[in-house]
Structures are given as C-alpha cells and as structure tokens.
C-alpha cells in the first residue's frame, strides 16, 4: 500500500518536474513541491492506517465555538 503511494508520487514528479525545469518555472516548482509534500505526508499517514479525526466534526465544533 505504502509502496503504491510512493510510486504514485514518483509518477506525478516524473510528469510535472521536467517541464517546469525546462521552462525555468522555479516559483511554480517550489509551490508544486510544497503542495506535493503536504499531500505525500497526508496520504502516507492514511496508508499507514493513521486515524484522522473527522473533518466535519471539527468544522461543527469550530462553528459552534464562533457562534457561542
């Protein structure tokens, strides 16, 4: 499962990075890598079976806190 995730990310890098380097889009490359890093951490955690808290529960708590 984890190796599948890593493979996917390598695939994404292989598709996007060469074009960006050739065009010298450095800013875009940085943003891309940053986003990819976040995505990678999240999906690896998910693949390892890390239990994330429910997102809509979090929003519910936040909304109730603001409106209180």
């Amino acid at each position: 499962m984890i190796s599948l995730v890593i493979l996917t990310f390598l695939g994404i890098i292989a598709i996007e990075v060469p074009g960006l380097i050739r065009k010298k889009y450095w800013k875009e490359l940085i943003v891309f890598l940053l986003l990819l890093f976040i995505a990678f951490i999240a999906s690896i955690l998910l693949a390892m079976g890390f239990e994330f808290p429910s997102l809509i529960k979090g929003i519910e708590i936040l909304i109730k806190y603001i409106l209180r």
């Binding site: 996917t8 990310f9 994404i12 598709i15 996007e16 960006l20 889009y25 800013k27 875009e28 490359l29 943003v31 891309f32 986003l35 990819l36 976040i38 995505a39 990678f40 999240a42 999906s43 998910l46 994330f52 808290p53 429910s54 997102l55 809509i56 529960k57 929003i59 519910e60 909304i63 409106l67």
Partner: protein, 365 residues
C-alpha cells in the same frame, strides 16, 4: 499573464451551471424536515439562490475579466484580499472533497465490497485530466453530459407517471414554518449557493455580460430538482424519509411490463456524469485560484498535488454517512454563509460605495 486562454460561450455556461447545480441535488438533498413539501422548499430555495446568484453576477459585471481571487485583492487590498481568498480556496477544497466523498459513498452502497478509496481515486483522476485540459474542455463535456441527463430525466419522469399518487403531496400545511425554511435554506446552501465557484469562471466567457445567463440556468436547474423531488414524494410518500438516496430508491420501483425494470442504473449514470462535472468545476476553481493567489505563470503543476489532497480530505471528511445529514442541515448553512453570501455581499457593497472600479485608464468595457 494569462493562466487560462480558453473562452466559453454563454450557452455553455448555462449547461455548466445546470450540471453543477443539479448533480448531487437530484440524488440527495437535505429536505427531510420539509417532509412532503420538499418540492415547495426547493422552489423557495430557488428564490434565495437567484438572490445569491444576482450578487455574484453583479460583481462579475462590475469587474469584467477578474476572478474572485483578483476581485478580493482589488477591493480589500493585497494582504486582507489574500487572506480572504485563502478562506475561499479552503472552502472550494473542502467542498470538492465533500462532494467526492459523497460520490464515493453512493457507489459503496451499490458495490458494498469495493473499498471507498477505489472510487475516490478513479473519480479524481478523471477530474484531474479534465482540469488539466482547461475550462473549455469541461464546458464542452457539460453539453454532452447535461443533454444526456436531461433526456434520461424526462424518460424517468414519463415511466414513473404510472406509479405516482399526487395525493401524497398533500396536505400543504403539514410542516412548521421553521422546519420548512430550515430545509429550503439547507437546499439553497448545498445546491445554488455553491455557484459562488462560477466567480472563478465568469471571466472566461466570450462576452462578459453573458454571466447574467447564470440566473436562467439556476431557474431551469431548480425547477428540474423541484420536479424530481415532487416525483419522488408522489411515488414513495412517507417512505421517502427513511431512505438515504431517495431518487435511487424511487427508480428501483420502475416496472414497465416486466421488461423495463431496475432503472436505478440511470441514477448511477446521472451521478457519474454530474458528479464529474461538479467536482471538476470546484477542482478547477481551486487550482486556478491558488495559481492566481500566488501569481504563478501556470496552474498545471498544481493539479495532481491538489488531487491527492482532495482525495485524502475526502476520506477523512466523516466516519459514517449518518454524520452527513445533520451536518448538511444544521452546520453547513452556517459554515457556508460567509463564503456564499456574506463576503460576496460585502464585496459588492464596498465596490458600490467606493465606486470601484474607477475608470482611469481608458474604458475597458
């Protein structure tokens, strides 16, 4: 610095909005409090939706060629504008993941032994390809898909005529005013209010005044949803309240001479195509907005990373589907309020009061 060179004609916008609004709404709407008056609640919500949409169009007409992110910066200044835009981008991201999850959940009911993540990945991959190809491609897809769905819609309506009992729509004074408006508010915020995403797409119209056509699209789509809600109630009656996917169950009833049965597959077709449109549009707005916010020269490299993030968020959105309906009814209208009406209204009022945009260097219009 043009991120998107594509242009879409006005009629394609109508199809896009129709597909966007009616996608999940035909399958699943938080109308439970309105009971048999779901259709009436939807009609009322169309009025609310038109109000919202006219604010979006007014803004779009005031700032032709500018997306929501650019308008934010123009009116609120670089810093505050960027923060507000960030909020919108989060909203789009979360919305895309919510719809993706909803989409996946439906398929896990039909195919209970397939893991959820398979549907999420398969869907987001197709959407990612569409987004990479730009708004023109999504708009052209919408013509094909929405036409198909409208054909199937009237076909369903026709074959269900036999099963309908219009007296199930009565009585009209069955629900309290409070419950009724709760339902219509929820419907508005999950279907019509989400057209705020089109603030990211209006600039790519051939003629910017055609943004007005979004009102027409909302009326058509709203009527279609309202009729489908009335149809479901007329067929299923009170039974509707226990089902998760009312339209799916309603079409299971179809039986024309032992030959035309099990039409629920039509719901799946509807869901596959409309869900694809909805997620693609949200996904597109998110990616384009991020690129504009960070002043990038292309949005293409952001597509896949965001796809992964949407998928992950889709999985962690909620544990069980039973959490979703109370959320859609109680929390979602509040959560979406600033994004769907609060901030756009504030932007419009500020722009009018300050007389923005000031026509300094020539007339752009």
């Amino acid at each position: 610095m043009n991120l998107e060179t594509g242009k879409i004609p006005g009629y394609q916008l109508i199809f896009l909005i129709m597909g966007f609004v009616s996608s999940l709404s035909m399958l699943f709407l938080p109308t439970q409090p309105a009971k048999n008056l779901a259709w009436l609640a939807i009609l009322v919500s169309i009025i609310e939706g038109l109000l919202f949409a006219s604010i979006y169009t007014a803004l779009a007409l005031r700032f032709p060629g500018k997306t929501l992110v650019e308008i934010n910066e123009f009116i609120l200044g670089p810093l505050v504008g960027k923060i507000v835009s960030l909020g919108f981008l989060w909203y789009f991201l979360h919305l895309a993941s919510l719809h993706l999850r909803n989409y996946g959940d439906f398929f896990t009911i039909v195919y209970p032994e397939t893991p959820l993540i398979v549907f999420l990945i398969a869907t987001i991959f197709v959407c990612a390809l569409a987004v990479k190809n730009g708004i023109e491609v999504i708009a052209r897809c919408s013509i094909l898909l929405v036409s198909l769905i409208i054909f199937l819609y009237f076909f369903d309506l026709f074959i269900l005529l036999k099963e309908m009992d219009l007296s199930k729509l009565l009585p009209l004074r069955n629900v309290s005013v409070q419950d009724f408006f709760k339902a219509s508010n929820a419907v508005n915020s999950v279907s019509f209010g989400e057209t705020i995403i089109f603030m990211m797409i209006f600039p790519f119209l051939n003629k910017y005044v055609e943004a007005r056509k979004s009102l027409l699209a909302i009326i058509i789509a709203g009527l279609l949803i309202a009729i489908s809600a009335a149809r479901n109630t007329a067929v299923m009656g009170d039974l509707l309240s226990i089902f998760q996917y009312p339209t799916y169950e309603t079409l299971k009833i179809v039986d024309v001479g032992d030959f035309l049965t099990r039409m629920e597959i039509v719901v799946s077709i509807n869901f596959i195509s409309m869900g694809f449109l909805k997620i693609s549009i949200l996904y597109y707005g998110l990616v384009l907005g991020t690129a504009q916010l960070l002043k990038l020269r292309t949005y293409h490299p952001l597509v896949f990373p965001f796809g992964v993030i949407i998928t992950v968020l889709g999985v962690i959105n909620y544990g069980a589907i039973s959490e979703l309906i109370p959320f859609a009814l109680e929390i979602y209208p509040l959560y979406s309020f600033p994004f769907e009406i609060g901030i756009p209204l504030f932007l419009l009022v500020t722009a009018v009061v300050r007389g923005l945009p000031k026509k300094t260097k020539g007339d752009q219009i």
